[in-house]
Point group: C2
Chain length 343, copies 2
């Protein structure tokens, strides 16, 4: 029997491989596997959006530095982000959890407390769940259901050449927050008595430990009557997400280093830790910003929005993603998204 | 800080404790946590049903004797069963999986192959998923979405005193299949060279390893125009499920030992293994039969159905569940459902 290690396919290759033989049985499935959410028929006016994520201890989070309440909050937020990435409104979540006997009721309650805060802030209902024991570690899987007006749903595959590529907020902060936490963890392991120094970097730490989802951007789209031509959320890093948009839209992209939004805290910490700030912006994941394309005709509607930046444009050259550096060099960018299975 | 072990609350107590402070935010939530499925508004005529289950290696399944393809099949079936228990029609599933690096692509493909067979048989679409690595073990969480006509939805809380208590198929077989597999596992551990003896018990093994969900019973309800007054699926054993129905319907139950359906293979294996057949029927889980109550007026509609048995009736004595034995003794039955956290 053949034995192929999972790392050979990578996360996306694996999901494609596993789901390619499933044929659609219900014509109410508008879009199955392959976007931020599945899209199913709700009624004459709306679609339901469905997405699921699983977080595993030691892979997605490290309880040495992740407060349980923040973990619960973040687990909800990463799912909300998938619904916003379809231009939708999140409505309900279900929660599956497996945890070893080392967790007490009080510990699990902390996780639920964090989920509750997120549910209240984003007006989402917890409608179901299942909790079981595990032999080792904590696993948290959330399924989210949202809705979107049929004429407003945004997929990854709608970008046309010469659309404007935009990104919300700023990039690389969650990645630098993680570097900082990992550095202090190493110090702590080497010198258990030493006091850790998180340098008062509240912004970076919060972006890693308690990120937010960009409901405000979807609200701007509604208010300004914008329907992006394509959209995805930045969970695996800008390079990776841009490649997803280009591949599914059958186009290319040119983006400008000097236009990619980065906070000064992020930039300075990268320099201090000898990390190229471009790497933090391009490859750093977990920002949960929205990456989207709009028609040039919509430029006036977003040009004064402080939370939206145009970082480049799409081209007709399928899957060619290029970065114009500050020094005006053109660099080809690979899809170097975070590959969970290589960790 | 207080530290309460999870086992002190049990699985149901834990879920109640964790979710009691969540307030409903969307009025489209008809029923949240607390039944086989959550019920949400779909359109003027229908509700969506949503349920989620998580299976953990070493807790819910043992890969020593569980073929991966069967595991995938069963993982889907247990979710289908929750939708049928609301008198609904399953439509879509999402799959979350976490697995350690010991699993190859071929192994995961086997699991998906089993899920695919179940999806095809029950006409369900896989619409999304997430796959990640785990430090140890395999975790499989499935969320199912189904639908039901508003006037046909059946909850756990609708039984009235003097309704008839019915059960589909037969009980205890999955439990005896498990005992057989566990016995042979112990033989195999003690004497690695010895050949195992599963006694050609295909029926018992299949009920444990590759159970089916009772779509046929829901079809009978539709055909005969029956809407049960309450319903639940038998996943944790008849005693436990009867207590759930009684508690939520605020009634009691009297059932008759000689009316509880048990297959001769199940009965004989129980006797052979020195297990009281009543224990197998009452406490053995994973049968995925449907336990439901109907109005006495509907008796004629089901009395000739070979797959439906009337096993007793409901009473006005809240939470009092009694078994009339073959010797005509009345025995009070506790809610001795399978408690995952005590294992």
């Amino acid at each position: 029997m053949q034995t192929t290690p999972i790392s050979q396919l990578g996360e996306f290759g694996l999901i494609n491989h596993l789901t390619e033989n499933f044929e659609a049985k219900n014509k109410s499935v508008i879009k199955g596997v392959g976007d931020d959410c599945a899209v199913i028929e709700k009624d004459d006016e709306k679609y339901f959006l469905v997405s699921t994520d699983i977080l595993a201890e030691g892979i997605h989070f490290d309880l040495v530095y992740t407060p349980l309440k923040h973990l619960g909050y973040k687990a909800v937020v990463v799912n909300l982000s998938d619904v916003y990435a379809m231009n939708g409104k999140p409505l309900y979540i279900t929660v599956s959890m497996a945890l070893s006997s080392k967790y007490t009721v009080e510990a699990i309650s902390e996780i639920y407390e964090g989920m509750k805060v997120a549910c209240e802030k984003y007006r989402v209902d917890l409608i179901g769940g299942d909790t079981t024991s595990s032999l080792k570690g904590l696993f948290l899987s959330i399924t989210i259901i949202g809705e979107v007006a049929k004429e407003k749903v945004v997929y990854r595959n709608g970008a046309k050449p010469k659309d404007l590529i935009c990104v919300s907020g700023d990039l690389g902060a969650a990645f630098m927050g993680l570097q900082l936490l990992e550095r202090e963890k190493q110090v702590f392991i080497a010198h258990p008595g030493a006091s850790t120094d998180l340098e008062n970097q509240k912004f970076l730490l919060q972006r890693q430990l308690k990120p937010e989802a960009r409901k405000d951007i979807v609200d701007i789209f509604a208010e300004k009557n914008i329907v992006p031509t394509s959209m995805i959320d930045v969970s695996d890093g800008l390079s990776s997400e841009l490649h997803h948009l280009c591949k599914q839209s059958n186009c290319g992209a040119i983006i400008y280093e000097d236009k990619i939004p980065i906070q000064s805290d992020t930039y300075e910490m990268a320099v201090k830790m000898n990390i190229d700030p471009v790497t933090a912006m391009m490859n750093g994941g977990e920002d949960y910003e929205l990456l989207f394309t709009i028609s040039q005709n919509d430029y006036d509607k977003i040009k004064d929005e402080p939370e939206i930046r145009v970082i480049g444009y799409t081209t007709e050259f399928a899957n060619v993603v290029e970065l114009i550096t500050k020094g005006n060099n053109k660099v080809k960018i690979d899809a170097a998204g975070w590959k969970a299975f290589n960790n």
